[in-house]
């Protein structure tokens, strides 16, 4: 019925859309401060532009030129996106791919998708619906249809979220707008009727005044404030059935013939039927009350009204009151068939029963209200009163929805947190990342993406060459394995490796936290984390390490560090045979005295170089202090040849200074008891050589047990005497 009425067809082309509610909601959407966001995913810029043009007055439009980008934006902005318009055939990832990702992540439950495509095969459409699209529009599309379906879909989803988003100003707006809309509809009826348009407002105001007065007198009718509000709103629709009455009869100046009156009387039933035939909203209290009012606002208390001849309280109270208000306003207004009566005259006529019999209780109300009625009806007061009532309703709603407004606040807090996060992420100069297993995707912080020379969103990073070039495969594998083997209780992993910063490989520490689902058993869903460039500090550290472990003059290990290495070596292969060699330069003091200390240093550097040349890679050579040096080597069968070769190699000449060394050797096979014992033994052997005339090497034997030490006391060799 509604659809057939000329003035609705423009507003509701999509067939099933609910005209009144739809319009109403749309107004609210428009009035919301923040525009809702629509994501358009289409590979043709022109197609996106056409769609954007249709919608960008009312909505904020964001665009993606392929499915991958679309998924990225969905990942980023989530439910901030109110609707997705999705093409099917696109490069990178097609529309079905996007839907699959949305289904996997359950985004499709919160974000409606309308598919728009030139594909018209029913298998495509079927598949789209199976994957959860709300609607399918085929090209070429009609601007109005696209617009309407977008509005309807957003409304449908908005309805679900409505409670969550309920805030005071919206409720307030809502009530005002819905009254406004109904007023507009009723005015259309009135204009057709040749009336002033004030009739609806007056009936509404008087209905409200009567109802408020009635509930003060009696609670017989169990009217809550919200019932009153509904009745007042619905009162505006009382004459809607007049739309079906021929204009010639409707606007006839003189008296009706019996036939004409019979036609005229059909308007109450016609209005009721319109409401009854509404395809939806049958259970809406507003529709139910409006039905009562339309059908029975010409019934009378004594049963002499029409169309059903109901008696007394068989007539719903809403219809009784609207009937009275209707009569009062008809009397006080000028009509095509009569002049207006004064307020006093009108009240008098009604009370006298000249316009039919009314509920005695309502007559009392009218009598009591009568003195103030002209002032109350004059407008400003009734509006003020309405506002007060609406404010009261808002307050009640707010109390009822406390938990929901709390969640609204939570959303704001979340928004705030996110702003804070992205600010600090930019400030911190760290690479921050989020990795999800399904869909396989890495999201990088803005700064991070820039420094690695990557996109912020990387789909399928395992098969994306740019992403792969950032990290060695083995490191990626190790890191992934480490994350997967965490648990929800201990989810954090720290991993050091080199990353490729636009061609420069730098040491980086990755600290990541695996994310686990709350299922039982928990599923690994990805990770969040950051990568910190530790290259400089790591380089500095290794320089410091080198400084601490090496002798500055010769570049050989120092004694302490050599000892550490020797102990490690013995520990790793305790059964092998080792030799510890200690030697010093003969007559070194004389060289220093004769040629100066810098010459002495040159001799030491020369000797160190010789030493380096004559030992094997695995041997350990160190400057033990002063002019004493140390060699630690592993041997298999025979050791003397090796020692002799080293000894010969070290001797020689440096700038006219003859180099001769004295050398003591201790073998692990002969000296049990660990490093300290070994060192002491080599030292004793050296002492024996010194005492026996220098320029030789000797192996330790038991005869040297009580021998004194050469090296004692020297700083680095201190440990040799702690026994």
């Amino acid at each position: 019925m509604w659809m057939s009425c000329g003035f609705f067809s423009e507003a509701a082309p999509a067939g099933s859309s609910p005209p009144v509610k739809a319009q109403n909601k749309e107004v609210i959407l428009l009035s919301a401060e923040q525009k809702q966001k629509i994501l358009i995913v289409d590979d043709s810029e022109l197609n996106r532009a056409i769609l954007a043009d249709m919608l960008d007055d009312e909505y904020e439009i964001i665009e993606a030129e392929n499915g991958l980008q679309g998924v990225g934006l969905l990942q980023q902005q989530g439910v901030e996106i109110s609707l997705v318009l999705l093409d099917i055939v696109m490069p990178q990832m097609d529309g079905f791919g996007v839907l699959e990702v949305m289904a996997q992540n359950r985004w499709i439950e919160d974000i409606p998708v309308i598919m728009i495509s030139a594909e018209t095969g029913s298998s495509h459409i079927e598949r789209a619906y199976e994957l959860g699209v709300t609607d399918f529009i085929s090209r070429p599309f009609d601007a109005l249809i696209v617009h309407r379906r977008v509005v309807n879909t957003i409304m449908l989803y908005a309805k679900q979220k409505r409670l969550a988003n309920m805030v005071a100003d919206q409720i307030y707006e809502n009530e005002q707008r819905s009254s406004l809309l109904i007023d507009i509809l009723s005015h259309i009826v009135e204009f057709r009727n040749g009336e002033s348009g004030l009739h609806v407002l007056n009936v509404r105001t008087l209905t409200e005044l009567m109802l408020n007065h009635l509930v003060q007198k009696t609670d017989h009718y169990h009217l809550s404030p919200s019932d009153i509000s509904t009745i007042c709103t619905a009162s505006a629709l009382h004459d809607i059935g007049k739309i079906s009455i021929d204009e010639k009869i409707l606007n006839k100046p003189g008296r009706f013939t019996d036939e004409e009156f019979a036609v005229m009387k059909t308007h109450s039933m016609a209005g009721a039927e319109m409401l009854e035939n509404l395809p939806i909203h049958q259970d809406d209290p507003l529709v139910k009350v409006a039905y009562d009012i339309c059908r029975w606002h010409h019934e009378r208390w004594d049963g002499r009204g029409y169309p059903d001849g109901l008696h007394g309280d068989e007539i719903p109270i809403a219809a009784q009151i609207v009937a009275l208000a209707d009569v009062y306003d008809a009397l006080t207004s000028k009509r095509c068939y009569k002049d207006s009566f004064s307020h006093e005259k009108a009240v008098e006529m009604i009370l006298a029963g000249q316009c039919g019999t009314f509920n005695p209780l309502l007559m009392e109300c009218l009598q009591e209200l009568a003195p103030d009625l002209p002032a109350l009806m004059s407008g400003s007061n009734s509006v003020a009163q309405r506002d007060r009532r609406e404010m009261r309703n808002v307050a009640q709603e707010m109390r009822r929805h406390e938990e929901l407004t709390a969640s609204e606040r939570t959303l704001q807090l979340l928004e705030h947190e996110r702003m804070k996060y992205s600010f600090f992420a930019d400030m911190s100069k760290e690479i921050q990342f989020e990795y999800t297993v399904s869909p396989p995707m890495i999201t990088l912080s803005n700064w991070g993406a820039e420094h690695l020379g990557l996109e912020e969103i990387i789909m399928d990073p395992m098969h994306q060459p740019e992403a792969q070039s950032i990290m060695e495969d083995i490191d990626f594998q190790n890191l992934t394995d480490a994350l997967r083997s965490t648990s929800p209780e201990l989810p954090v992993v720290t991993y050091d490796c080199k990353l490729n910063y636009k061609g420069a490989w730098r040491w980086t520490q990755i600290v990541a936290r695996a994310t686990w689902s709350s299922d039982e058993p928990p599923r690994y869903t990805g990770a969040i984390g950051k990568a910190i460039d530790i290259h400089d500090s790591r380089m500095k550290l290794s320089a410091l390490e080198r400084m601490a472990s090496h002798d500055a003059l010769t570049g050989l290990l120092n004694h302490a560090y050599a000892k550490k290495r020797i102990l490690e070596r013995i520990e790793t292969r305790p059964v092998a045979s080792y030799a510890l060699v200690i030697f010093d330069l003969d007559h070194f003091k004389a060289a220093n005295d004769t040629y100066g200390h810098s010459f002495g240093d040159k001799v030491l550097v020369h000797l160190a170089e010789k030493l380096r040349q004559c030992i094997r890679g695995g041997d350990i050579a160190a400057r033990a202090g002063g002019d004493e040096f140390l060699i630690f080597l592993e041997y298999k069968d025979e050791v003397e040849t090796v020692i002799s070769r080293i000894f010969q190699a070290l001797c020689g000449q440096f700038e006219h200074f003859p180099i001769s060394v004295s050398m003591g050797v201790a073998l692990t096979s002969a000296v049990p008891g660990g490093y300290d014992a070994l060192f002491h033994a080599a030292d004793a052997a050296l002492y024996t050589v010194k005492r026996g005339g220098r320029g030789q090497y000797r192996f330790y034997d038991d005869t040297m047990r009580e021998t004194l030490s050469v090296i004692s006391p020297i700083e680095d060799g201190e440990s040799a005497h702690q026994k």
């Binding site: 093409d87 055939v89 696109m90 490069p91 030139a118 090209r139 009609d142 109005l144």
Partner: protein, 120 residues
């Protein structure tokens, strides 16, 4: 040349476009924009490189754009080409591509003529 005459010249349906897009301003805006749409270049390039998957998508995009703007003649030929490439290359594709080239040239010529006159 009016926009309506431009439509006649390019074998389009002016009334349908206005009926669906609801305003002459909008139709004119997007018809002019059609000149800058890169899908045709992409189509030619993809065909040259024998990248038929890309060519399919490009033809599909042209078809979609033409549908939106009721440029029927080019829409029909691009649609036929599109179908001939849906599952990879077929021998008919070459002739169909030639049709698209002819129709595209006519369409662009009509829009350019319209653009020139409406600007001048």
């Amino acid at each position: 040349m009016t926009l309506q005459e431009c439509y006649t010249a390019m074998g389009g349906n002016y009334d349908d476009a206005i009926g669906r897009l609801r305003s002459e301003r909008l139709v004119q805006k997007f018809v002019l924009k059609f000149l800058n749409d890169g899908s045709y270049d992409l189509l030619c390039r993809s065909l040259e490189e024998k990248n038929y998957e890309e060519a399919f998508r490009a033809a599909h995009t042209i078809k979609g754009v033409c549908q939106n703007l009721s440029i029927d003649r080019l829409q029909e030929s691009s649609s036929r080409l599109c179908e001939s490439l849906r599952n990879g290359y077929t021998p008919q594709a070459d002739a169909l591509a030639e049709e698209v080239r002819v129709d595209y040239a006519q369409t662009v010529a009509a829009i350019q003529a319209f653009q020139k006159e409406s600007a001048g």
